[in-house]
Amino acid sequence: AQTVTQSQPEMSVQEAETVTLSCTYDTSESNYYLFWYKQPPSRQMILVIRQEAYKQQNATENRFSVNFQKAAKSFSLKISDSQLGDTAMYFCAFMKRNNAGNMLTFGGGTRLMVKP
């Protein structure tokens, strides 16, 4: 079984600054995906960024980037130029890459507050 741990229950950052959210995971799988989801107060789950474990290059989506350290089983999210709209819960998630279904395993979440 996989486990995903987010050690920072809450974080805050000033608008326009950079913040990094941490995530570690434990798995015996070699092929998998990692994700960061954003959940604003509306509760909608929004996919922020995805990383494929076999790719060494870190994924980037506009102001969002990851630092994927496969050997250390670490997957942190960096948000640059933080905006008020980034205020949300952020969840790290793991998915095995196989034919048995796309089940996601989530971490406990980090609540991010962007301050004006």
Binding site: V4, R43, Q44, E52, F91, N102, L104, F106, G107
Partner: protein, 115 residues
């Protein structure tokens, strides 16, 4: 409505009552999922379904029943609700899995309170 919808959005019930949460998707996705979200636990998988009439347990299935007679619907039933089942419930769907990645799309969630 196109996409994935859940009903009701909010539900208050009493201990011991039966409650059914509905999930409907318009994409004809093969896979559908039910998660519950509790503080400190993120989302945890309750049940999932690979196709109509095929369902399987997830991480926390006790106290829940699912069915899938049609591809587009995946209802979740709490046969005798307990206070510990107070939570936010999310339904999700995705294309059939394979060698490539298929994104899960989430519904808006149902907040269930059991008194």
């Amino acid at each position: 409505d196109a996409g994935i919808t859940q009903s009701p959005r909010y539900k208050i019930t009493e201990t011991g009552r039966q409650v059914t949460l509905m999930c409907h998707q318009t994409w004809s996705h093969s896979y559908m999922f039910w998660y519950r979200q509790d503080l400190g636990h993120g989302l945890r998988l309750i049940y999932y379904s690979a196709a109509a009439d095929i369902t399987d347990k997830g991480e926390v299935p006790d106290g829940y029943v699912v069915s899938r007679s049609k591809t587009e619907n995946f209802p979740l039933t709490l046969e005798s609700a307990t206070r510990s089942q107070t939570s936010v419930y999310f339904c999700a769907s995705s294309e059939r899995s394979g060698s490539s990645y298929n994104e899960q799309f989430f519904g808006p969630g149902t907040r269930l309170t059991v008194l």
